[in-house]
Symmetry: C2
Subunit: 133 residues, 2 copies
Amino acid sequence: MLRLSKRVEYGLMALQYLAKSGGVATAREISDAGQIPYELLAKVMQSLKHEGIIDSYQGVRGGYALLFSPESINLARVVRALDEHTTITECISPSGDHDACQMLHTCTIKAPMNKLQQRMEESIGSMTIAELL
Amino acid sequence: MLRLSKRVEYGLMALQYLAKSGGVATAREISDAGQIPYELLAKVMQSLKHEGIIDSYQGVRGGYALLFSPESINLARVVRALDEHTTITECISPSGDHDACQMLHTCTIKAPMNKLQQRMEESIGSMTIAELL
DNA sequence: TGAAATCAGACTATTTCAGTCCTATTTCCT
DNA sequence: AGGAAATAGGACTGAAATAGTCTGATTTCA
Ligand code: SF4
Ligand code: SF4
């Protein structure tokens, strides 16, 4: 249940790389350094861009760079950018979705699961990219 | 990545039920009460039994009962009993497996992931069945 | 103008998960 | 003794999520 996806792992490696380099790096460069499938990493970088964690520069001599200091990017945000399921249960929806669980009404563990969700988020959010260096 | 499996959800409901009832309850009874697929729940109960969280009684008038007080059963243990992946990465294996990741040697995020694993476990382990009542 | 890079979407293959089915065994009650 | 009700355990199927690949478009610099 708490195994992180390859997307997140790759994303963390990439962010770590960008933090270390301090400047602009290409997806190819990061892929080579970390032995990460290039095409998959490319997608990950795009997701990180959309989330606003990194900036991108197109064309030759392009690449990616961090938009914030490593210590101000916490892992919760990275997970939110790269993972489908960011909640412990489907009834806890980040954007108030209505595709919620069927047993929503009869469910007896909904409330405590909410509490757990908070604690988990705190755990993940307590770590930053700076702690990967 | 942190969506808990149905097995865990059902397991928590069942343990909550057992804690509330205080005595012996059958899988059928719990299944009916929580609208849980009976066959799947039956498997879950068996897993909980194997982990040593509950005791079972076979035959007519049989069923399941808690082996410990609700406040001494934490969710980390439940997850361990019911979930395949209890670690954040595959290189963190509970029983020192050797099916570890290929990039184990070149990986640059292994150490911090270990730290995160600990924090996550603390979060999950900090909640007990008693908090579901 | 061409090479190198991001951007975007569709696609396939693999693995995981939820759920079902079937049979054996145990135990109580009549 | 025998049947009903329960757990035990394995095999199986279908659906869904994930990992990875492919193709083409666009941007930008030299
Ligand atoms: S309502 Fe209950 S069963 Fe449904 S997703 Fe939420 S916690 Fe799980
Ligand atoms: S070694 Fe690195 S890449 Fe492999 S599982 Fe561990 S953290 Fe992930």
